[in-house]
Structure formats: C-alpha cells, structure tokens
Symmetry: D3
Subunit: 287 residues, 6 copies
C-alpha cells in the first residue's frame, strides 16, 4: 500500500510562464515516452512478478513509487506554465504591445492562443491532463509487462532511453531557469533508471538470458535460421556488413551469417467461400 508527502520530490518553479512549454511538457506526462507509462509499467511488472525470489518485485516497487512523484512534478510544472495563459483572443490583444496591436488589427498575437493545447483552455481549466503534447490521451496498451522478467527489463531500458531523449529535447527547448533545473533532475533520474535495468539484465545472466525467453528448448526452433541475417534487396545486392551479420552471435552460441531471402513456401490456397458466409456468389462458386 501507499503513502504520500505533500512536498515534491524536487523543486518546481517557473519564472516566466509559457503556455507552449506547458503543451510540450505534456509529452513527458502522457506521451508514450512519459511518466504515467513508466509508473504503471513498473507497478504492473511488480504486482505480477512470478519468481522464487522476490528481489525484482521489490526493486520495481521502489522505482514505480518514485515515478508517481515525477508525474506530480510535471503536472505542477504544466499548471505553473499555464498561469498567465490567455483565456480569450481579446485578452491576448490587451496583453500585446500597442505597436503590435496596431499592425495586427487589434486582436493579435492570437497565435499564442492558437498554439496552445485547446484542451488546456477548454477542458482542464489551465491544468495538466494525462495526454501528450498534441492532446492525445495516454492509453494503457503501452504498459509492457510480459511475465518474462528479462523482456521486461529491456522494455524498461527502452522506456527510459526514449524518456531521457524526450527530457533532453525539453531541456534544450526550455528557456526558463526553473524548468531547466527541474529537467536536469529528471534527466539524472533517467540516467540512473537506464543503468538500473541494464544492471538487472547483467544480473539475469547477460548473454545467458538470451534468447528471451531462455526457458524454451532451442532444439525445437528451426536453428538454421536462428543466426542468419536475411537480405531482401530485389536485385540481390548484399546487405551492409556489420556486427549484426559477422562474427560470433551475441549469445555465443553460433556465428552470424547472411543469406538472400527466397520463398520456401507455396502460394496459399484458401479455396472458395462457404455458403451462408456473406460472400458474393462468385466467391462461393455459385456464378
């Protein structure tokens, strides 16, 4: 079960509110690279973890709980950036300088309103929403919890890699020193979280954890295709050479090689549609 402290994990302050930056921060809340995703992902991985050893369950719970606090920081940052947002085009006009007003016909720079997430104005009352920077709600199909702990660790590295990439882009886009400070903290945590899941993969055996799942008897797979890079160039032009098709495989079990793809199967034959199946008469063979 869970507890809260009213204070934030790290300070969040905004000197110059900017409604466009509020919109951009939404990507870190409700985007597929965002904090709702990692928070729920780590929770569902923890809650469903099956293992003789509760270690990863425990580890995941600590970090999942930390992530709630990150959503909270970002939601606070969005609200603070919306503090002076224009509610109407008229208000925009009033705020603009006289010379701009004169040039623009008395109602601009209306683009400040145009560039906002309209839902910030109309749906949330100038507060954060669980949506991305283009207003699309987060959906939980992005919570990856496969029941395979090694696969899940790679999903977590991915989430933190795209998450840190996003945080870096936001840091670069930010002008406000408070926002840069907050992001410098979140970027550091993403650094750690990338490290942490990679460390878990090492602990799970590194190459010995492969191929995932490593509980499947590989003699049952068609092993002549297990370490072969297949080229699909129409002219048979060979694929580029790289670590991915030369040298020993990453799990140490074979040597990589390359072949050109060719069809091993036949053209499929499904045959006629059945009577009563809603097909056209031709498909049933009645015409």
């Amino acid at each position: 079960m869970y507890f809260h402290d009213k204070r934030l994990q790290y300070p969040v302050r905004v000197e110059t509110p900017d409604p466009l930056f509020a919109r951009q921060l939404q990507q870190a809340i409700g985007g597929v690279e965002g904090e709702i995703r990692v928070c729920l992902q780590y929770f569902f991985q923890a809650w469903g973890n099956r293992s003789p050893n509760p270690k990863y369950r425990d580890m995941l719970l600590h970090t999942a709980t930390e992530e709630i606090g990150h959503i909270e920081m970002l939601a606070t940052a969005v609200a603070l950036n919306l503090d002076q947002a224009p509610l109407t085009l008229q208000e925009t006009a009033a705020a603009a300088s006289p010379v701009v007003n004169a040039l623009m016909g008395g109602e601009r720079p209306r683009h400040v309103v145009e560039g906002m997430l309209q839902q910030h104005l109309l749906s949330s009352g100038l507060a954060a929403m669980p949506v991305n920077s283009d207003g699309i709600p987060f959906d939980c199909s992005h919570i990856y919890a496969s029941g395979n702990v090694a696969g899940d660790m790679f999903a977590n590295v991915t989430a933190e890699a795209t998450g840190r990439t996003l945080a870096v882009r936001l840091y670069n886009a930010a002008k406000d020193p408070g926002m840069k400070d907050m992001l410098s903290f979140l970027i550091a945590r993403d650094t750690m979280h990338q490290q942490q899941w990679l460390a878990a993969i090492e602990e799970l055996g590194g190459p010995a954890a492969l191929p995932i799942p490593n509980s499947f008897d590989q003699s049952l797979e068609r092993q002549e295709f297990s370490y072969v890079y297949m080229g699909t160039n129409v002219n048979g032009e060979p694929p580029p050479e790289g670590r991915f098709n030369t040298g020993p495989s990453m799990d140490g079990k074979a040597q990589f090689s390359t072949i050109q793809s060719t069809p091993l199967g036949e053209a499929p034959v499904l045959g006629p549609a059945r009577e009563g199946s809603g097909a056209q008469a031709e498909q049933i063979g009645k015409l």
Copy 2:
C-alpha cells in the same frame, strides 16, 4: 520501393483447423508484440534515419521487408484455422456427436462459437484481421521510432523479446504439426532479430552509447542523482541489494549507491483560479 512473390517465405499448413487457435494467432498479427508492429517500426525507423552513414537505414529496410512476409504467413494461418469454423450454433450442433447432443439439448458444444473472436464470424468472413487475440485493433502509437538510433535498437530488442515470448507461448499451445512447424521458423527468426539489434548496440559503442542520448552534456544533469538507487519504503527499510545498486555503473562512469527518498521540494501552491475560467466562485475567491 517494393516487390512481392506470391509464395510464402515459409510453408504454412494446418491439418486440423481450430478457430480458437485462429484467435490466439491474432495476437501475433495485431497484438503489441506482433508482426504489424515490428514491420512498421522498422520501416519508420529506416525511412526517418538521420546519420552521416546509411548503414542502419539499409539494415532496417531488409528486415522490415522480411516482416511483411511474416504478417502474410500468420494471416494465412488464421484463415486456414477458420476453414471449418461453425457459422451458427445450429451448425455446431450438427457437427457434435449424438450423445453430446442428447445431453446438451441439441445445440451444443456451442462453446466453440462462444470462444471465437466474434469479429472472425461477423466482420471478416473467416479471415485474419489486424487485431489482437481479444479483437482489439492494432494502433500505430506502438511504432517506436524516436530519432535516436540507440534507443530505437533497444525498442527493437524489446519488440523481439516480447515477440519471441509470444511465439513460444503459441508454440506450446499449438497441437497441429503444421502450426508447430511454422512457429519453429518464426521463433528462429525472432532469435536472430534479438541478436541483430543487440549486435547493433554493441557496434554503437555498447557502454559508450550510454546514457541514451549520448550527445547530451552530462555536466548539465544533476549528477548527484545520476547513479543512485532511491528507496521509497515507508519505514525506511533498505531496498534489496543487487547489481543495480552496487559496484560500478554500467557505463563505467560512477559507482552505484542507494539512498532513501526524501522530499527536496515544497508543497506546490497554484493559487486561486482566474475570473472567467469556468471555476466555482470559491476557487476564484469570490465566496
């Protein structure tokens, strides 16, 4: 641009059609671990790849093109498994043995119809659909192409790890020898594809590729939090010990350590709502 051969990449045959297995195979077509996802993911990564060196673009194109053929194989397998599916409950009854019919009241085993994806009966005319095993359409928010090639490679390992886990589950669930054979091929290809993206990560520098993105100047992040595992247990009970909080960090730049989380910020103060913002009068301070 692209070309096709009518023949399948690998043979697909079904001796005993089973509409429940058709439903389960849908997960490998339209599930988040499925083949539409990897196919489009590799294509969008290739088409958007920015780099002085076109190597990864090329590599991705070969494999993306291969994946179209995997969707095709699975779609064929679904259709073949639906070949004898009952179109109605009455038809089910006719197919059942007399003794079962007598016991069940002349209309059963109707559960064969009940267990089907109803859309297979009603929407597709006994053919595959771009949906998962519970009938939910694939949506392209699952195509991860972040513009960061290292992050994308981890996304690809994840996709192939969950993909192979799924293929193994389907292999275990399959009874038909044709289906087992087809899956033994797809599992082998998933083995290779895991290897291949991991090899690319090694080629991109392995630890030197970290933290992702490695083009951000780490002196700008709050580095005292970059290699620290944070515990959130309410009683201060220390987290489990593991590779993820002891020893050198995975990128070789620091030592892991552990601290208990405490609030560094204050309780946020958003202040009153604004006049005209649609809040209650109390929120505006008017009551």
Copy 3:
C-alpha cells in the same frame, strides 16, 4: 431539430433469449459496419453539406433520422436477449439439467457465462452498449464526411454493403423467429440504402463524377500514370488480366494498360541529425 415516437420502427420480439446472440448483435450497433456509424455519418454529411443545391443535404437528413430508430431496435433486441442471462456461475449451474450437472461437477455449463460479453454482465446491467461484438467501443473516426459528395456516396455504399453483409450473417446465425423477422426488415432497408446512394452517384454524373474529386484539373496530374496498372511481382510475372487493366477506362477518358513497376526516384538522403536534437553522437557526426 428532432422528435421521437415511443414506438419502434418495426416490431422487436425475442422468444428464446440468448446472451451469445446479444453479443453478436452488438456488432450491428457499435461495429464499424453498424448503425451508430451510418447514423452519425449521414448526419455529419448532411450538416456539413456545401452545395448550391440543398437536395443531398435533405436526402441525407431523412435517412440519418431513420437510422436512429435502427440503433433503437437493435438495442432493444440486445436487452431482450439478455433477459435470462446468468448473473453468476452458480446460477448457471442451477439452470442446467441434473445429468449435465452431475457430469460437469455441479457448476456447468459455465461456458454460457464465459461466452458472454463480460461488460454486459458487469458494466451495463444486461443492456446494450455502444460497442462491437468483442466489446470494443465505437469511435467516431469511422464517420466519413469528406466534404466531397461523390466520395461520401461511395463511403455510404460501402457502409451499407458491409452493413448488409453483417445483417445477413446475423440472420443466418439467428434461430429465434422474432430475431429473424427483425433482421429481414433491416436487411431490406440496407438493400434500399445501397440502391439509394448508388442512384445518387448516377445522378451526380456516374462516369462524369470521376475521378473524384472531379473539380481538379487533370492536366496537373502525371497522366502517364493515371490509367496504368502497375505490377510489382519480383520476377516480372505479369499481373492477371481483367477489366481493371484492359479496355477503356471507367471514366471513358483513356485505355487501361499494364506496366511493371520500376524505381523512378533515387535512394533518399536525409543527412546527419542536428546538434541538440536528441540523437546519438554518431548520428550527428560527432563520433
């Protein structure tokens, strides 16, 4: 604006309620081939119709209004089919015959519950929902109203073609005479609606309405590719011959022909990623 009559457009009665049939009927309510779709599609086409002549706007309004009544009929049919649905597995057991109970261990045929849309039991209280037969909510991206009246008429023919195909499948699956009667009416209306939109296309000029939109000056398109079927077979094997690649074109403006696809463009070059864009250092050319 709109008015209602409490009575249904056509009688809806169910002699033997069947919760599986309730589930199947949902496809005709909230499926992409269903009645919510056509209803809202015709309304949005009518409300947004731009033309010097209000004829199609009017025509669409009549039929859109009729379709509300079809949703109502189907929603009533779903509720009536759920009338005796088991609320629990225990209840199922009580309803089963003694001999079945004995064989099955006292709790079956539980598959009746298993085959239900669980949301019918848990979310709607045994009533219809705006979802399809696998429980997926209708979403309004399926409302096609393009602003081009001819394109919209084809969208409407499509909706009624898939709608009638679905209704026929439901008719074939139905056993209850009341349900067969209701469906015989809805099928008839789908017949008419197919006819009606095709008649509108004829009235809009038939071939003269093509290509859609017919307000674009065709001299601006690369006309050497406007009436050519392109083969993409990897071995250059010619496509099948048919009306679609032989004889005069459907708009009478050209002759169909066939060519083999070949690349007319070059391999695209996007160049390096930019500093500050969150890419890996290699992509920026820094390593």
Copy 4:
C-alpha cells in the same frame, strides 16, 4: 511525493483459482468504473486544483494515494486467480475427468481456455493487465479533472457509484470466500468515497453551488429556457410528470415547467463549396 509498504491494504486470498473470475476482476482494474480511473482522476484533480484554500487538494491526495493500493489488491487477486489456469487445450484435457474426456473427444472442457482473456495467456504470463474484462486497455480520456471543483466532485460520485455497482456485481458473481472478503472491503470503501464527495458538494454550498459553474452570471444565459423541460414527442403527447418538471427548481431560483419543443431557428444555408477545396464540381456550382 510517494512511499510504499510491501504489505497490502487488506488481505487478498484465493482458495479456488478461477480464470474466468480473473477476467471479470479486470473490469475493476482497467474498466471505466475501475480503480486506475479513480486513482489517476483524484491525482490529476489534486495536482491541478486552483483555489485560495488547499483543503480539497489535500483531501484528494489522501484518497488518490489510497486508491493505488486498491489497484494493487485487485492485480494480486487476478494473478492468484490465474494460478492454475490451463496454458494449452491439451493441459485442459488432462485435468478433466475421464468420463467428460470420453464424451468430449479427449480435449475438453476446452471452454475454460476459450472463456479466458486470451491476453492473460499470451501477453501477461498469467498476471493482471491494465485492461477491462473484455481486454480493452484503459485510456486516460476517462480522467475527469475539469478545473471546476464542484463538477469534479460530481464526477467522483459517479465514478464511485458505478464503481460500487461493479463491485457488488463481482461480489454476487464470486464464489471464493477470499474474494468475497476482499470485495466486502472494497465495497465499504466505495460507500465511504461516495459519501465523501457528496459531503464535499454540501460543503461547497449544495444548491448554492448550482448551476455549475456558479461563477457565470446567469443573466447572460437565455433564462426563459433555464428551468424548462422540453418535450420532443412527435405527437405532442406530454412528457411524464415528475420532480424534474414540477415544483421549485433544485437551486431554488425558479419553478420547473414543461413545453413542447419547436424550431426557433431556420434551416441552415452553408452555400456552395469553394474552388480548390476538393469538392465535386456540382458543389462549387461549376456544373
């Protein structure tokens, strides 16, 4: 920020695992009436609360934090109910009694597999997912946080009313004493949460909080339509009489009355489509 305790808020135990009940419990996790929804809804309402008085922000935080623990309890219950779930049809057969096997052809009662959420078998490895009982992922458009605290309190009452209705249905459907016990606790908490948000509405002024938002000057609305029930029966048959159209209005500002709806506006005229807008030539007036 947030903290966790490894122990559950209330005991969760399952004596007889049932994969169908696991599926039904999913509605309480990822359904629109479920716990992810209330948890995130209360958090976003708290984080975005604008008011001179932080009372509701605080109140919401306490309860939001409690709700994480409810998701955790339910996720645990789902996993425990999946403990003995068949992984394959063959496994099902082995578990069935000989007499049933004989009658059913050696592979049944396969309906136990057919009735499962297939994603439980194929995607989560027999663990809970953030989806509803038909497998549809929760999406965050259901997080209602409008920036108006009174409106939000009604949204919360609604969430707890539908939540308790769902919990009652699950209680009725449950056979396992552990599950009944857990649900008796969750139902009690839903009782309190309904009470709590209603108490907040009373504290916000009850009738004086109406109409929501109460910060809008009602003289600006067309008040002759503000307390009038409008009948739309085509024959002018009067609507049923009830508290909703007789007596003083709920906010004490007027008397309810009833009128028959009639059009006050005209048929809209949008005029021709514009050149270059992609319409048919007829719509532009060119034919």
Copy 5:
C-alpha cells in the same frame, strides 16, 4: 423511432467567421464534455432502462432527442466559422494587409492556418467533425449507462456540469454576437439539464438512494470501513477537517470519522512461474 424538422432548435448565425473558434467549438461536439456524449448517453440509458415504471425511460427519450438538435446547431456553427478559412498559406498572404505582408515576407499571417485543426482543411472540407478541439475522435466508451438509474443520474449531472463549464468557457472566448447568442441558449439548457437529473435523484430518494446501488445488503460489506476517511500522509499528519470526515454521514446511517491508513494484509506471494509459460528460467526456478 425518430423524425426531423429541417429548421434548427435555435438560431445559429456567425458575423465574423473565425477558424480558431471553429476549432474550439469542436470540443462541444466531440469532446468528452460534448453533445454527442450526452445524446448517446441518454439514448442508451433510455433504451436499456429496466424498471417496473417506464417514467425515466420516457424522460430520458425526450432529452436525448433534444440533444441531437444541439449537435446539429454546433455542427452548423463550426461550418459557418470555417466559411472564409484560408485553404493555403498563399491565400493567407493575399488576405493580409500590405504592411503585415511586407514585414512578414509575403506569406504571413500563416499562423491562422497553423492554428486550425488541420483535419478541417484536409479531411472534412471546412465542416464539423465528430472530434474534439485537438482533433481527437469521440469514442463511445464515454457513454455511461450502468443499468443503475441513480448512478446514471449522477453521470448525467456530471456530463451537464462539465458541459456547462465548457459552454461558459466558449462563451467567454467568443467575440461574435451570433455565437454568444447561441451559447447563451445552450448554457440555459445545460442549467436545466443539471437541475433535471438532480431532481430525479431527489425523486429516487435522495439519501435513501445511497449508497449506490441501494439494493445491496450493507451488512455484507465490511462496515467498519464504510464511513471512515483514511489518511495516507507518510508522517501521520492528520487530513484536513471538513464535512467529509465529521458529522453524520450523508445517508444518515453513521458518523464520519478519520483514521490513518495501515496495512491489514501481508506482502503478496505469487510464487514461481510455470514451466511452459514463456518466463525466464530463473523465474521457473530452473537456474
């Protein structure tokens, strides 16, 4: 069944078309607070209403039918606001004043195009769509019809509370007198609809309708938790005091009190993963 009148329920006129206002109005059509939602919600509640008394079914039908006319009014308003929308950036330039053109380089104020819903330009041909103000299609999971009439009435109050809040925000944002007039009517109707559903709750017993559903025997719930506000502050700091945790409960059955949350359960133990379930070997206990 249903009928239409070509005339609108209330006049809709636009003196100065504004494509940004067209976009904002979309929230009232396809937003979760919008008119498609209430229209379909009241219809599905009516069509599925189970009761010995048809009163609420009838009441709902009248208002549902009225709401179709509201969607129609808003769709008309959107189309009229798009009447002069620029189709291209070039057109924008031509419309701008010479001095602005000179300053801006001959192609601006392009922000008018940038601020539009791009789908208005590209998909609908300058007409309304069933989407919200950021272009996201309405999805029918927002149609709440729970089978419990009291719960549904609260859902309806919520819908009208957020709906009126939205209409007020649009009124405040509107500059055009025709739009202000239309919104003054819609706000009035939202006032009435809030009143009407609250009146129904009073008629359903007010406190006696609680807790919802009131048909569940409360002795079966863990009543020691039914009227207790639970604090989750990590330091045990007591929650704020308010009507929600002091005094008699809203249903008159108990006194509110407050306790600090503590775990009553144990840490859950799921045990090892099963052979053949696609887990890692460690999880199965094989390593």
Copy 6:
C-alpha cells in the same frame, strides 16, 4: 513474401522545407484517407480472399505492394520538410529578421514552432510518424476487409476517392515545386486506383453484384421495404425528388418509391431489473 529496392518509386525533393507542410503531409500517411490504410487494407483483403478464382487476390497483392512505396515517399517528404525546423523558440528568434524580432520582443515568430506537430519535435526527432495531421495515430480498425469481394471493392473506391481528395487538397496547399511534382504522381495513381476497383465491380457483374451480398436469397427479406425511400420529416413534408426515389432501382429488380415513416412496432417493455443485478431497489420493484 516481399523484396525492396532502396530507390523510391518516384522522385521526392523539397526545395524550401516547411514544418507546417510536414504536418499536413502526415494526413496522407496516417490519416484515415492515407496510405497506411490502403496498403494494409489491400494486403488483408488479398491474404483473406476466398474464391475459386485467385484473380482478385493476385490483383490486390500487386497494388498493396505498390502502396508501401507510397508511404515511403511521403515519409521521406515529411523528413525533408522538417530539415530546418526550429528545435526551440530561441532558435526561431535567431532565424527571424531583425525588424520582426524588434517588434515581437525577441522571441518570435514563435508561431512556426506553435504550428508544428509537437510530436515531430519531441518524439520522432524531425521524422515522419504513423499519425495524421493532428497527431493521432492510425488505428487498424480502418482496414476494411469484409470477406465479401464486392463490398471490399466499394471500400477501396471510397479509400481512393477520399485519398485523392486529400492529395488534391495537399497539392493546392503546396508551394514547393518538388512537393507539387510528387503529389501530381500520387494523384495520378489515385485516379488509376479508383478506376481499377470500379472496373472490378463491373467485372463482378455491376448491377448483378447487388444487393451486396448477392448470395442471400432476397425472398427472405421484407421486400416491401427494399426499394422504398422513407421520409422522416415531422410535418410529413415530402423528401426531395431524385434518382434515389424515382425510376427503376439500380439493380433493375424494382421501381423506387417514397413513403412517410410510421412506427410499425410498439413501445418496448423490458420489465423490472433482476435481484442481484446491481440496480436500484426501485428498478427491482423492492421499493
């Protein structure tokens, strides 16, 4: 199975990159009228085609394969249009002319950033995504493959009609000669694809293919309603006259006529809710 050529089907070049045009092009990639849709639609129709004659399967495969190349062209065009996109507001300022900067306060024309798809900046690293012009991901419920080949051909005409309408709108909006050239090719291909599916309908019998599905015995439908246009005007005002309600029907089987809609059914009676179904006591008849 499938093969690729690195070169594009047709040249794609951009002289003056424009991030707004990049956004608009997204509609042609991930919009419902876009190329992902037609590509997957033709593939699923081909892969599931049931017929004694493989002709349409073959035809569909050629064109589906061509469409992958169209997505590739558009994805390339999006990336090229994003080449100089500002990554931050500051960068925008630097690029603006001194006089504009002076007037605008040193940070504008920030609307260039405001008008971008924020995901282009934050999620894809300035590359194409499988989303529409307002950032909404494509979802595969738009892949129509009904199992009825005639219905599918109409779905394909619709897709190409809305697709060409979109391409024409983009052509009109484009200023860059490279983009106009690329679109002139895509428009030509859409012309052909419209023709091609219409030709297939003719080959399938034209009127003889109607009503779809033509394998249903029409004597089973209520034929007195099969060729009748139903008016729903509340005042009985007759519908407009047109080809759709006068003359012979399009399938030549009847004459069109018009009637005014009247209820043929009764008001439905669902009766009381059941004990244990989670309804209010009144609904069950207990109060």
